[in-house]
Assembly symmetry: D3
Homo-oligomer: 289 residues x 6
């Protein structure tokens, strides 16, 4: 029996398929069937809106899936979280779910919304948040684009935002942050208890994480004369050991190491000054520590 | 005080603005403010999703608006219907709200859905429909794209369809039709009772209808010698009288008539054979009978 | 039984559908059936490449169709020509079928091609042309884009050209012109002999011609005082008589005339100086003389 | 000898060509020669940046041209202004040339810029403006996009703006308005003194103005029974007389009038209530009063 | 003297240039000269339609080229086949040349086409096929898009197909398969007999094959303690030997191997469980076994 | 205090950001703020038009930046040149600043321009050039697109050109070359004298150069039996030494070397014939010699 996997339908779909391709699974949506096809007979994939995914997971209709922490919290779903997968279209920053009001509406805190009208896609999350602050307000479900409703159709909104730019463009101001959220790989408790499914899920988590990790690392190779070896090794990050191979017919060594992409620009000049020669940087597709 | 008008946000928006432009109102959405601006100080326009429009109309937040009969019925809203406006993106056919199931799922009638799961955007409409047939089923609200949910996530769906092509593409079959629907110009009872607002609404209905009608008609002009006049007039549609003017210094007449665009290709050759000369066809922007 | 009409598949298709729409027939290609649908039950339309259309016409598989004079000649097909229809994508100029060779190849006339290799889509036309000049050469059929074959793959080519720009861009020179060609409305002799079909074909020719003509004309209206009438009329093109109607309660006249679009910019200032008032220009959709 | 006309190169080019096409001149830029070609042998057209056009006009290199009032003023050019032509890409509003500074930079008036750095494309205009206020500041010529220079590279800017939205987007604030500007049809004094050229220029001004005017007007036709004639005529704008023609074999009249497009939506319902029947609206391509 | 190479003009052109770039030859088509330019003075490239390439190869106008097995067979050309190159736009599957008829036309085998009309681009191939089955039918040459001709203009067609989707979309059914075909690197016998040209051709075949192969493989590197070495090696594919290098100042080894891309997702988790550390995957541009 | 870096705004912007990304700095322009953001707290980036950059560098408003040699010369700016960076959109060729005139204008040398009008963006450069040849002419500043000004608005121009194709397209001819130019990494003298800033600048130069160099090289790996080792090594380019590692449990060696991308297609067949096995080519992201 195959593992039933739910993937996020909508704006994250392309980024998700691209991540799976790097990890080793090619997923394709046939324009006629709408059912994703994957080159792995032990997997069956369904596209589900992130909002609805926790519900289907809890009901056992799928075994595992990817969705945002925000929607898990909104549903209050009881699921097993396997790992965080910090990928998204533009940045790797978490999104925030915020309460926002008009620039000049005088709303200083959630307390000022007593008896008011709040539009949101996060109805339950908002209601629990209001209750925890002892505030009674009308929470209205809204089909996306809440930003345009203030002030004509709503007094405040609860929406997600990554950079805040859409809020500013609509002349809105953040009053409070309800939670921060990233994408999570989650499954239900029954699938996690099933030994075969857990094995599949753990392998998949290892390869997804390895593909994401590879994007943050680069490989470095260099040649070092024996007399400089210690000086060069001293420059390397303490945590990871380089691969050192003796060179034939030479007193020198070939040295190879994986480092953070973002440190490479500082490290390379230091290595060169310490005596490394012929430094070469190349990119990686997966890294499993 | 201005008439507050709600127009449909989303896929019908461009077609709606284009219809209003033909009728005489230029509406523009500033990319920054999102609030439509119209060149009529006695009007204030808000874009509202068709699903939500009946609710805002009933609450008195807007005076009048355009939405589908389907959403009026789903809300069960108590509003005054002014006229039908049969425009849409592709065709002028009404849409139908249908109950659909998988091609080979054995669902022959709504009775076969007892205890099953139905996904829809029309929750209330579906629940009333089921009740009227004495069927108990779980009706789940769905964010659009219900078609992909059968059979994995739902046993049947209630959706709107114009040509049925999306249903066929998803291998679904129509089981029953709940209602047929076109766009309606509607207002609330208070606005209709207000003499000033009713005047504004009736003028607007006259011009919107006149602009739609003009797209189906063309103007024809021709010159006819007196001896041929009766023969030419005999070719014309019985229902509408031509405008006949005597020509100066000539025994002939200038004849002008409005006819259906689609009959023009049959009528013109007959007119020419009956003796009409210099036949000219031109297009129209408004026709008020 | 319906009239079977063949329309040119390929680069002229959109321009052809647009011309038929102006004439009164809406043709649509359903992306699934590939068979064009037209809003006239007495017509059945097939898309056929212009090269092949004369063959199917001669075999009686279609009754009438549009294709180029060049392909009729290449096939040597025995068909009835109804009228010329001078429409095309860029200009209304005829195309020419020419013999072309490299700029510096020393080919001065067809005589210089004895024993050479000629690439063309017009195999039969080229062979008849060579025979009539007593030249023997190898004529090779070529799938489009003959221009790139000179000199590596062919010594000369026979191709069609509208402005000669593609020939110049490939550094080729026109040696001789085999024929000039425009689009023709043609039918087979049996359909022309059938009274019902002939009536349909003649009506269609009248409306297609009327739609094309309307694009070159504009309507002008103006008011003229009686004292200026002769002076204004003297400015008008001699060939066409204006429509003159007396105005009510006034000594003046309303004058209306159809003129060539391209003369309007010279005519209007002259009319105004001659005493015309309130000059109005409007566009036309069909003109049947 | 032909009239040498300069047209604005750049963002206004397409709108300018479109206006000339409506007036009766088809202008085409061949992608190879870059020199515009026009279907009028008595005209020779050059594309010139609006900033530079007044200079070439004053030097007699061109006879006439279109440019903005702002650039005429910046150059301080001595030219003859024929008429205003209020067309532009988005709106028909005049643009304004303004002095702008950062939202929170404390610049309250031009006086606060003593000794500061101002970036602008309008160097002369800005220097005359500063001198007239007794302020000494460094005026730096800037290649477009001045908005991004504040505050890092400039203390204030002088730019043109239509809606102010680009200024707001860069967090800038208007401090003062130097002038408002629209497009003008201008010529040099020598060409205006030349009888032949002046005739050409006046005809062109008549047709350009007539094409622009037609976009603001529509034609209305209707039939009116004799008994209603006075009541219908009373509804019409006082300034313009309708064309009234008696109908044949009928006691009624055909009535035709040109009205402002924007009043049509108010006028049509009033005409119908006054007894007009079969009201038809159609669009116009030129109107010469 | 340079090697004259013919490459396929048309839909395969971009994929062909991209394959050559990976192999080491940069080919560019200058928009003015139409003659491809390559950064190798010993090569001269001509673009030729695949249908015509075998003819020019046999005539000795080019030395070598890429075309489909289907066109070689259609021409019946006597050429030397160097190797298969399984690249194409969408998949690496071979195409098939098939005989197809309408879904419900009752054509069960080629025998049912006696006396019928068959449209095809493969005229000779079809005629030989019919002859070998003792069937006499009219074979008509067709300019592409044969699928739309059934049933109006032809009783059956012979076309190429990769996935069969175009046939299904036109409601056609495959009756028989004439041949399967992939792209081949071919040359004429004279060029193969010439030692210098043969050397060039063999090097080019080695690099094209190496570039294609690299897309199916990935490189893996890992570190392994001596005690785990045998366990890790046991996991590796039997056919290929890993490169094992001793690490300096350590009892472990660096292990490197090339594996099939599609097995990597199963292999990596097994390697990690067997004791491999720091597993890194990277991509390859050429692999020559 | 951070290093203030100026990068070229305009056509080179995307290529510049891409080069910095390869070198290790990710730069992003927020569509609202227009201020580039970089992931390095010690850097502050401003986009400046290349024409204006030398001026801001000399004034000490920025410390270092990238611009063309042509603009440095035009400004006559006194700056320190760190290194050349030969990247651009299409090719790696230098651009030339040339004096050009019409094909048939009879301008044979700069001497023929005495008393004429020259349009250019390089006003100072042109004036110095004329002075050095003892020529007096009117040099006019022009907002780009000088090519279209000849002959109507200028007698000659001074412009930059890479391939000369724009000049030819405008029917212009190069009369003289004022200078050739590539992109340079430059700083002001104060920043170069500051030890901390100079260290930053040198590291950046090392990494930018290393990223550019990597695009011209590839890595090769292969296995060689001991008996073939000398023969394989003899094939390698003399200048660079390969990395040779003994293989475990085998008499062979793993050999690795970096070679020019463009020699790879010749080298690989030779290496294989000399006995190399399992030859693998991979790409590089940085190479620091």
């Amino acid at each position: 029996m195959s593992l039933r996997l739910g993937l996020p339908k909508g704006s994250l779909q392309d980024a998700t398929f691209s991540l799976f391709a790097k990890a080793g699974w090619n997923i394709r949506v046939d324009s006629r069937s709408y059912q994703p096809v994957v080159d792995d007979a032990s997997l069956s994939i369904t596209l589900i809106r992130p909002q609805e995914l926790p519900r289907y997971l809890e009901d056992g209709i799928i075994d595992a899936g990817l969705t945002g922490k925000d929607w898990i919290e909104d549903c209050g779903a009881d699921v097993h979280e396997i790992c965080e997968l910090a990928y998204s279209k533009a940045t790797r920053n978490p999104i925030r779910v915020v309460l926002a009001a008009g620039q000049n509406d005088g709303v200083e805190s959630v307390k000022d919304l007593e008896g008011k009208r709040i539009a949101t896609e996060y109805v339950q999350l908002t209601e629990r948040y209001l209750a925890s602050h002892g505030v009674t307000a009308k929470v209205e479900f809204s089909w996306g684009a809440c930003e345009v409703k203030v002030p004509a159709l709503a007094d405040a909104i609860v929406v997600n935002t990554e950079t805040g730019s859409s809020l500013r463009a609509h002349n809105l101001r953040i009053v409070d942050t309800l939670l921060t959220s990233t994408t999570r790989f989650v499954c239900n408790h029954a699938s996690w208890a099933d030994e075969v499914k857990r094995g599949q899920i753990e392998n998949m988590a290892m390869l997804l994480t390895g593909a994401l990790r590879a994007g943050e690392l680069v490989g470095l190779k260099m040649n070092v004369a024996e007399s400089n070896l210690q000086r060069v090794v001293d420059q390397l990050p303490a945590l990871r050991k380089p691969t050192v191979s003796p060179l034939y017919g030479d007193s020198g060594f070939a040295l190879e190491i994986i480092v953070e992409d973002k440190t490479s620009r500082d490290l390379i000049p230091r290595l060169k000054r310490a005596g490394a020669e012929g430094i070469v940087e190349y990119s990686l597709s997966k890294v499993i520590h």
